[in-house]
């Protein structure tokens, strides 16, 4: 049986790449430290496969066909298409069709109806944390796209349940492989809105406290109340919620939090606590 060996989160602000030289040295150091540490912990968990949950920033999908959740089931995926991600070493990224299909089948059994793609383009959301985390070469990836961008968005409660389902899918996968999960995005930010550039650090800190506590009801209530009141980018915290569900809601360890106005994002990095048997 497969084993869940690590669950992690990392922000993926584009300006970490596109505007690196404009970031203050202290913030550069904080980001580098946190992203390197996330990468180190992923590597230390020795995953045979990475499940990665990230939004699609209008790369694979448009409003003529916009899945709420899409699982990449193909043998291979493409690296980022954004011109400013040209230096990213990941041009072709191996998938893991067997685990991916098992996730889709488990989801259908558990009353989720995700869409599937046999070839996705993994944009900066997927690739910045892996690239800056030093994960080269990459293990095979099962990409999962959550619609965090175009309302209506998946309910926070369902994202938590998706995560629980994901852990079950890993647990019941018949091969003896090690699987880690990485959720990307968040924390507070605002893109293309009147509040663009605003980081809500008190929100981020409170959000982090809820993830640390592990109390799912308080976390869901907090997000349902607060997400509609802050910038659109915080919707990506749904991915963290799924990771929280997958890890068994035992709380997490904050690896780093960097409020970086230069990249418009309250950047968070974390590692969830897993059951002792994991």
């Amino acid at each position: 049986m497969a084993k869940l060996v690590g669950v992690f989160a990392s922000s993926h602000a584009p300006l970490i790449i596109r505007g690196w030289n404009d970031i203050k040295p202290t913030n550069q150091e904080g980001l580098t430290r946190a992203m390197t540490e996330v990468g180190r912990r992923i590597k230390a968990s020795r995953p045979d496969v990475l499940i990665e949950i990230s939004p699609d920033h209008w790369v694979n999908f448009f409003i003529d066909n916009l899945p709420s959740i899409c699982v990449g089931v193909g043998e291979e995926h493409d690296g980022p298409a954004e011109p400013w991600m040209k230096a990213c070493p990941f041009k072709k990224i191996a998938g893991h069709p067997k685990l991916a299909n098992h996730i889709v089948e488990t989801a259908l059994e558990r009353d989720f109806e995700p869409s599937m793609s046999h070839r996705l383009t993994l944009d900066h959301g997927f690739c910045i944390p892996l690239w800056r985390g030093g994960l080269d070469p990459l293990p095979p990836i099962v990409p999962i796209i959550f619609n965090d961008l175009e309302p209506p968005l998946p309910a926070v409660r369902r994202c938590l349940q998706w995560g629980t389902m994901l852990a079950e899918a890993v647990r019941t996968y018949p091969e003896d492989i090690r699987v880690a999960i990485v959720a990307t995005g968040g924390l507070s930010h605002s893109i293309g809105e009147p509040t663009m550039g605003e980081v809500d650090e008190p929100f981020d800190r409170e959000c982090i406290r809820h993830f640390e506590d592990g109390d799912e009801r308080k976390l869901v209530d907090f997000l349902n109340e607060r997400l509609p009141t802050i910038g659109n980018g915080a919707a990506e915290i749904r991915n963290w919620v799924a990771a929280h569900g997958a890890a068994g809601k035992r709380g997490f360890e904050l690896i780093g939090y960097c409020n970086v106005p230069e990249v418009y994002v309250g950047c968070g990095f974390a590692s969830w606590n897993l059951a002792a048997s994991a």
Binding site: W58, F62, G192, E193, P228, G231, A235
Partner: protein
């Protein structure tokens, strides 16, 4: 509210760097390919951030103005003046 063809224009431009280059060289030529409503096309032609913001996803709005080369400070200044609070709220999770 989402204007489909405006969204499609922004989506196509940010998806294809060659198309973006063509657009910067000859905006009219590319706009002629999209059945934009006259008032929408006029807003595109005058870079009316406020008008456009109410009709597309905020990320596509941001990407579009990166593609056309609007300086970041100018975009930030314009988008922060967008008064349509309801439009902004509609973009929230």
């Amino acid at each position: 509210m989402r204007d489909y063809w405006l969204s499609k224009l922004f989506f196509d431009l940010q998806s294809s760097p060659p198309l973006g280059a063509e657009y910067r060289a000859d905006r009219k030529k590319i706009l002629d390919r999209y059945p934009l409503k006259p008032e929408v096309r006029a807003a595109v032609e005058r870079n009316d951030v406020q008008f456009l913001a109410a009709r597309v996803n905020p990320y596509l709005l941001r990407f579009y103005f990166v593609v056309v080369g609007m300086p970041e400070a100018e975009f930030l200044s314009k988008v922060r003046k967008v008064g349509a609070e309801s439009a902004a709220r509609s973009s929230h999770g």
